[in-house]
């Protein structure tokens, strides 16, 4: 027979776990969420945004000028020499790849781990990943002596025999790793945005926007069947992205680990680099979100609890990195290899020791402050720390690359490296590119996954009914 009346609430009592932390402040209705998230997209950008955009764009211009000059004149415009073949270029590459790791980590791994707090930040973290990987991919390209022939690293049939590529070269592994990572991240990001595009489409006022968003939304209608398939897909992609993200930085670390140079040739590199990547990635997410939540007035969704959670991860990964530093030195001492020892002694006491100590201070020591709960929830402190970690992680790569190269096996070849203005300009430019993209992102795309937050809110309704 048919039950004519609505059933009693207690039938829907939620399992207590759901109730433990509340990841949204206040209790916005679903529509409030839509409104809040769409506000930046509909309202006119404020002065703060324009100022930020101006700075980012001019940085990008500096970078463009530097790269143009370098590509047309020669790598000689950089400070490299016969002994130090890589410095700023690959340092920046590894730095940006590292940054690019938090995004996928947050959305993929935390999704698998059912960490609900990721919902508010995953979208912007993924965006950050994409932009960071773009910046990273730029450097292997422009560091080539003849970048216009870069396509030779691709195995395609050609009229030279055909002459293929060297699948034993870690640089080639990089090519595949970075491109795969970029592709999968883009797919993951886009698929995640389809339902939100639909929302935008249905809310859009101007026909142009409506058309654009309906193109992007691929005709999404929110049908239950689609949703169910959609969730399977997201889980699958997350499951794929997780090993991917780890493999990518493993491969990047192999650029060094598979070489013969003392200070590069180390089996510890893969885990060490992955931890470092996550570390720097979360630092960058923090830096960005602390600004964004303030500027975009999204404190309600990106709460102090979010910051606290990220701080904990920084504390963890930072400690792993610190341990890795220690291990390297232990091996150098224990291994009794004169070249190895010399390199590590040189790192601590040599001409680049200052960089080494910046690295240790920022990466290993500073994050230890995060043991204190009060600091984890103190926004200015967190911000300062996240900046420090970014700086420190850049120096980590610089120290690994330059101090191993400039004094390796034959003392007769020892030299010093000094960056040229062009290299500095290129570094600035990469930041310009990154922030320009990010600033455009926050204005053109929903920087919080509406449907995911709504799901949270919806469950919350249930829980509190």
């Amino acid at each position: 027979m048919i039950a004519w009346s609505a059933p009693a609430a207690d039938r829907h009592a939620e399992p207590p776990s759901r109730r433990r932390t509340r990841w949204i402040d206040g209790d916005p209705t679903l529509r409030d969420i839509t409104d809040d998230v769409m506000r930046p997209l509909t309202s006119r950008p404020g002065a703060a945004w324009w100022a930020a955009f101006a700075v980012a764009a001019s940085a990008l211009a500096i970078g463009a000028a530097s790269v143009t000059y370098e590509v047309t004149t020669g790598i000689g415009t950089w400070g490299l020499n016969k002994t130090v073949g890589w410095a700023f270029d690959i340092t920046n590459f590894v730095f940006w790849v590292g940054i690019g790791h938090a995004g996928t980590l947050i959305s993929a791994i935390l999704l698998l781990l059912r960490q609900q707090w990721r919902t508010a930040i995953s979208r912007s973290a993924e965006a950050m990943t994409i932009f960071a990987v773009m910046c990273a991919a730029m450097f292997p390209l422009i560091h080539m002596g003849r970048p216009w022939l870069a396509f030779w690293v691709l195995p395609y049939p050609n009229s030279r025999g055909p002459l293929w590529v060297n699948f034993r070269s870690p640089l080639l592994w990089d090519v595949f790793a970075i491109n795969t990572y970029l592709t999968i991240s883009l797919v993951f990001w886009y698929v995640g945005m389809i339902p939100d595009f639909a929302t935008l489409r249905d809310r859009a006022q101007s026909p142009l926007r409506r058309f654009a968003y309906s193109m992007l939304s691929l005709g999404w209608d929110g049908s239950a069947r689609t949703w169910s398939r959609y969730e399977t897909a997201s889980t699958l992609l997350a499951g794929l992205a997780t090993p991917l993200v780890i493999s990518v930085h493993t491969i990047v670390s192999m650029d060094f680990a598979t070489s013969v140079l003392p200070g590069w040739h180390a089996t510890i590199f893969p885990p060490y680099f992955v931890a470092g990547a996550v570390f720097s990635g979360f630092a960058m997410v923090l830096t960005l979100l602390i600004i964004v939540r303030r500027v975009m007035r999204l404190e309600r969704y990106i709460t102090l609890r979010h910051l606290d959670a990220m701080a904990k991860i920084m504390l963890l990964t930072g400690s792993i990195v610190g341990l890795a530093y220690a291990t390297e030195f232990y091996n150098a001492w224990y291994g009794h290899n004169v070249y190895e020892r010399a390199v590590f002694l040189n790192r601590v006491t040599g001409p680049y020791a200052w960089g080494f100590w910046i690295m240790v201070g920022c990466n290993a020591c500073a994050p230890q402050l995060l043991w204190i709960r009060r600091l984890r929830r103190n926004v200015p402190i967190l911000f300062a720390l996240s900046i420090a970690v970014n700086v420190g992680m850049w120096f980590e790569r610089f120290i690994i690359i330059v101090t191993s190269l400039h004094r390796s096996f034959l003392p007769s070849t020892w030299t010093m490296y000094r960056p040229s203005m062009i290299e500095v300009g290129t570094l600035i430019g990469s930041f310009g590119l990154f922030f320009t993209c990010f600033l455009l992102f926050v204005r053109l795309l929903p920087m919080i996954a509406m449907w995911e937050v709504k799901a949270l809110a919806g469950h919350r309704d249930e829980a509190t009914r």
Partner: protein
């Protein structure tokens, strides 16, 4: 229903065709197959090498000993034409140039990039027919580049000469031609 599938299909097809065309064009960059420039003196290989059966190495004697096959100096022409009565405008031009002590500025037909070291004598020593690379010059009134002269084309022959033991083995080391 149909609309988007159709659209997608057409889009895919267009891209595929475009890519194919592009690839084909790119693979021909720097390949001058069929290059047959007009020469200052309309010398006919068909006449000399074909009809009169003058051996290639009589004029291009360099090929025996040198990296360059060489363009015959005017005095080689005169070896015969000094005696022959037949006169043509081209021959007069040649004689005129000789009188003025001016060498003939021929146009090179078969050009290799500067980063390739090709040695004629090496191939002559290995009994490679001139025609293997230059085509049937003895049938050409105006010489034309018949082979693509791409690296792949060289390699094919070198590979084949590694398996065919009736001929001197060829080498596949990069450093054989690139240094």
């Amino acid at each position: 229903m149909v609309s988007w599938q159709l659209a997608a299909a057409t889009a895919a097809l267009t891209c595929a065709i475009a890519a194919a065309v592009l690839a084909r064009e790119l693979s021909r960059v720097g390949v001058h197959q069929g290059y047959a420039p007009a020469q200052p003196i309309a010398f006919s290989h068909k006449l000399h090498a074909g009809d009169f059966r003058v051996p290639c190495l009589y004029c291009h004697f360099g090929a025996r000993t040198s990296r360059h096959a060489g363009i015959p100096p005017a005095n080689v022409c005169m070896n015969c034409h000094g005696l022959l009565q037949k006169q043509t405008t081209d021959l007069e031009l040649l004689k005129e140039l000789i009188d003025q002590q001016r060498p003939v500025a021929w146009i090179k037909v078969h050009n290799l990039p500067d980063f390739v070291y090709f040695n004629h004598s090496q191939h002559v020593t290995a009994h490679v027919e001139c025609q293997a690379c230059h085509g049937h010059v003895e049938r050409m009134t105006r010489v034309e580049q018949q082979a693509p002269l791409t690296m792949g084309w060289c390699i094919d022959c070198h590979r084949q000469r590694r398996t065919d033991f009736t001929v001197p083995a060829a080498n596949l080391d990069c450093g054989k031609c690139h240094y």
